[in-house]
Every structure is written in C-alpha cells, then in structure tokens.
C-alpha cells in the first residue's frame, strides 16, 4: 500500500524535523553538562527564534539574514538574562537543582505569555532561505529548506564538537561538568560556564526555531512541543551527551514520521511520550556514551 518513494519521502521529512529536535536536544545537553539543570524554557527559545525573526523581517522590514542574526543574538542574550536574574541568585542561595528546574518552567510560561501579549496570537511563517522548486529525484521531492535544515544542523553539531574538543574554553566547560570543585582549583570559573551554557543552549534553540519556521509556522504556543521533543531526544542520547542528543532527535523525528504514516498524523506526541517512557524504563542512561560519565 506504500511504495518505496513515499516511505523515503516520509523518512526525509522525519530526518529534517528530527534535526530540529536534535538541535533542541543538544541545547538541553549543553546546559545540563554545564549546570545539571534541565531547562524547560528551551522550547520557548525555539518559539522566540521564529517569532522574533518574523517581527524583524515582516514588521520591521530588515533583510531576512539580518533579522535571523539579530533574533539569535536576542534569544542568546535572553538566555544570559535568565541565568543572571533567576538561576544565579538561586545558586547563590544553594537552591536544589529541582527548584531551578521549576524556575525554568516558570520562564517558559513567562516567555509564552510575553510573546502572546507583545506580538500576537496568530501563526506566522518565514520565506524559504533560498526560493525555488524542490529537487526531484526518483519520485522523491526534497524541498530546498529541508537541505538548509539538515546542512546547518550538521554544521552546528560539527562546530560544537570542535568547540568541546579543540578549544580551551570548551574543554573547561566539560571539566566543570565533571568536577566543578577541581575545575575551580585549577582556576576555572564555574558560574561563567553555567552562564555560557544558557547562552549557547538559547542560541541553539533559536537557530532550530528559525530553520523550521519556513516549512511549518511559528506561534506563541509552539514552544512546549519542542521542549518535549528536544527533551526526549536528549534522553535517548543520554542526557549530557550533545552528539547523542542530536542522533536521538533524528531517531525521534523518524519514529514520529513513521507513526504518522502507519497510524495517524495526530499521534505525534503519543509517539514522543511513548519513546520517552520506553527509554526511561529500558535504558535510562540513554543509548550513547556521555561526555561526562
């Protein structure tokens, strides 16, 4: 009932959206590595990436590329502000990680409501980065934006790998995650790593949101599903393992796509939560070796 090219078409769609889940999952892992915090506002950063780009491009009239860069910078800065105003004071009072995670959930709600009231409640889209008809090959159509999504995601994961292994600051972020006390004895400032983790993960979320908006839409409410999918991706990959999270995202995207083909498109989140529960029951440490453990 399904021919090979239809299935392949769905597979590519799954990989494409899976790259975005992957980027969000990488954001979770980067921050978890730096701080032990799971940031439930991560989906909010994805939503803001798309929404702020929309505002700057469609309402302010900036060129698309300028709007995108400004939106990424804005969201990254917001990540820093959240760290300064909420997480840092909590850390200084030795609040438990649980309290800090709850605080990020509150941030998600704040971000969502700010977007609703300051922008609007309607869905918006962005143009494809490069206009043109999809590439046709053997009965499969691959949209140009899909190529952008996959290409940019892979590039970012590659650059992140270089950052963690080749730069002294990246190595220090890993060291602070492994043993903050020893890291400080050697002169590393652990609280800076936490701030950098927020900055980096917020930027990753924004990039994901910008990449996907042209193929779907963005609206104030799209954040939470991305939080869920990104979190599942990070869990599949073994929390704290950025590369694992990215692969986990692709796995999840493909499974969701398969669910849409074989069951029903409405079962997306059922698939996501189902995968989450299975991983938590069967292999809570994830399927990939962590950088930390």
């Amino acid at each position: 009932m399904y021919n090979a090219s239809t299935l392949l078409q769905f597979l590519i769609g799954g990989i494409s959206v899976g790259c975005i889940y992957g980027l969000v999952g990488v954001g979770f892992s980067v921050l978890y590595n730096a701080s032990g915090i799971i940031n439930f506002a991560q989906g909010g950063f994805v939503m803001l990436g798309g929404m702020v780009t929309y505002v700057l491009y469609s309402l302010v009239g900036l060129p698309l590329i300028a709007a995108m860069i400004a939106a990424i910078a804005f969201v990254a800065l917001l990540g820093l502000v959240i760290e300064w105003t909420i997480i840092k004071p909590l850390r200084q009072r030795s609040a438990s990680v649980f309290i800090m995670i709850l605080a990020t959930l509150a941030c998600q709600i704040l971000i969502e409501n700010a977007a609703l009231h300051l922008i609007d409640d309607k869905p918006h889209s962005l143009p494809y980065f490069t206009p043109g008809p999809p590439l046709q090959y053997a009965g499969i159509a691959i949209g140009l934006q899909t190529l952008w999504i996959i290409g940019v995601s892979l590039l970012i994961v590659f650059l992140l790998g270089l950052f963690y292994s080749r730069t002294q600051f990246g190595r220090a972020m890993r060291a602070c995650a492994i043993n903050p006390e020893v890291a400080s004895i050697l002169g590393m400032r652990v609280e800076r790593m936490v701030a950098s983790g927020f900055l980096l993960s917020a930027a990753l979320g924004a990039i994901g949101g910008i990449l996907i908006t042209p193929t779907q839409y963005t609206a104030f409410f799209v954040g939470v599903p991305f939080t869920v999918s990104g979190f599942v991706a990070a869990i599949i990959g073994g929390l704290g393992n950025p590369l694992g999270a990215f692969i986990g995202g692709i796995v999840l995207g493909v499974l969701q796509s398969a669910g849409a083909v074989f069951i029903d498109a409405g079962y997306k989140n059922v698939v996501a939560f189902g995968v989450l529960l299975c991983v938590l029951f069967l292999r809570p440490q994830g399927f990939f070796k962590s950088l930390v453990e």
Binding site: E181, I185, L186, G187, V190, V292
Partner: protein, 242 residues
C-alpha cells in the same frame, strides 16, 4: 613586620553545621619549605586544605604571599600561585591525559605559551610514563599514573605553593614512593610544598617541618629528623587504631 611566610593561617576554623571540625589553627609555610601535616583519619586535614583553598566557609585569617585571601574566590587562587592536588586524585576521567594537562594551564594567559610549553615538557620529564599515554582516556590509567597526572595537572598551573591531600592514598608502596620522589625533586627545584599524609614515614623523610593534627587541632610539631618524635607518632597512630 614584613611577612616572610608564603602561607599563614591565624585562628583558622571551620564547621560543618554545628560541629566545629577545625579548631582555630595556626600554621605557616615559608618559601622553599616542604611541610608535612600528619594525623589519623577524620582529624580534619582535608577540611584544613579545603579552607585554605576557600572551598568551604571559615573564620580567622589566611594570608598568601602577604595578602589576605579570606575573601578571594577559589578560582582566583590559581592565578595567585597556589593550587591543590585533591584527595583521591580527581582527574577528569572521561578526558584524555593531554586534555587534563592542558586544563591545568587554564588560568594562564595565551601570551605565556612558551612558558606553558616549558612546564608541559618538565611534567613529561618528571613523569615519563605520562608521555606515552597522552591520548589515553585518563580514567583508564592505573592509580599511580592517575596520581602522577593529578600532580602534573597541578604543576601546569605553575604554582609557587603546591598543596597535596594524601597523595599516597590507595597506591601501591612503589607508586607512592615514586610520587614522593617526584615531590622531593620539585622541592629541590624551589617549589614550596604542603603535603597532608597519613603515611608518616614517607612524608617525614622529605619534610623540613611537620604538624600533627588530631580532632581538628594541631597537637604537635615534631622535628622530622628526630627519631624519638617519629616513635611518638607511631604511638599516636596506635592509640587511634584501638
């Protein structure tokens, strides 16, 4: 009065909750000295080192190189010239040997590259075993090699004062004596060393002076060259075992 000591504590005390684990402690370490702090398990030796490294809150005065460090954050001490080889080594296990050593030089500015490279060569010369294992995951090293890596990583800070917490802990006798031999060499090259140890003979064979801690206090300052005080130490440990 000019401060001659590199490190000096005056009435340094610390508590966990309501328990005063460190009673007011006065110690000093002069430049070039090799000082041993001895004492049984639970005496408060690690707590003293943590207080010196500003890892736990404490009361009293603490001076490094004539400057108070009571309000100095831990991360800034490396830059001042003091670092610690922590108890049970605490190398960054999932990272390579090379990465561990590179991270030791974290606080040093990029302009110091030549000096950092010189220290790197010096560490490999001091511990030739490490040079064959630079790309190996640090967690897969033997206990003795991990201790060498922990000392090497601390040397990459280029400290003037090196603190060590029980470097012989969990090591085979041969590995411990290798590590202490290296510490002796470093001291002869001018590095000031403060080492905490339970294995008194090993530490006393190198130390210029020693402090003995018990229940959070300094209870004796034996002369390492004096055999009688070594015997007295042995009695102290026996007393503790029972």
């Amino acid at each position: 009065m000019r401060e001659a000591a590199l490190l000096r504590s005056q009435g340094l005390s610390a508590s966990y909750g309501h328990v005063e684990v460190l009673k007011p402690i006065d110690i000093h370490v002069a430049p070039g000295e090799f000082i041993a702090i001895l004492g049984p398990n639970g005496a408060g030796k690690t707590t003293l080192l943590k207080a010196i490294m500003r890892l736990i809150p404490s009361q009293g005065e603490l001076m490094f190189d004539g400057q108070s460090i009571v309000n100095t954050p831990t991360w800034a001490l490396a830059d001042l010239g003091m670092t610690l080889v922590p108890e049970s080594r605490m190398i960054f296990g999932p990272m390579t040997v090379l990465e561990n050593l590179q991270l030791g030089a974290y606080s040093r500015p990029g302009a110091d590259r030549a000096a950092v490279n010189a220290d790197f060569e010096a560490v490999l010369k001091l511990f030739p075993k490490l040079s064959q294992r630079l790309d190996q995951i640090a967690g897969s090293l033997s206990g003795g090699e991990q201790q060498m890596l922990a000392v090497g990583r601390a040397l990459m800070v280029h400290p003037r004062l090196l603190l060590l917490d029980e470097p012989s802990l969990g090591l085979a006798p041969r590995a411990s004596s290798e590590v202490f031999q290296a510490l002796g060499q470093l001291n002869q090259q001018g590095l000031t060393i403060l080492v905490v140890e339970q294995k008194a003979p090993l530490a006393l064979s190198l130390a210029h002076r020693a402090y003995v801690m018990h229940t959070g206090q300094i209870i004796a300052t034996p002369d390492p060259k004096d055999i009688a005080s070594r015997d007295a130490l042995a009695h102290l440990y026996l007393g503790d075992i029972q």
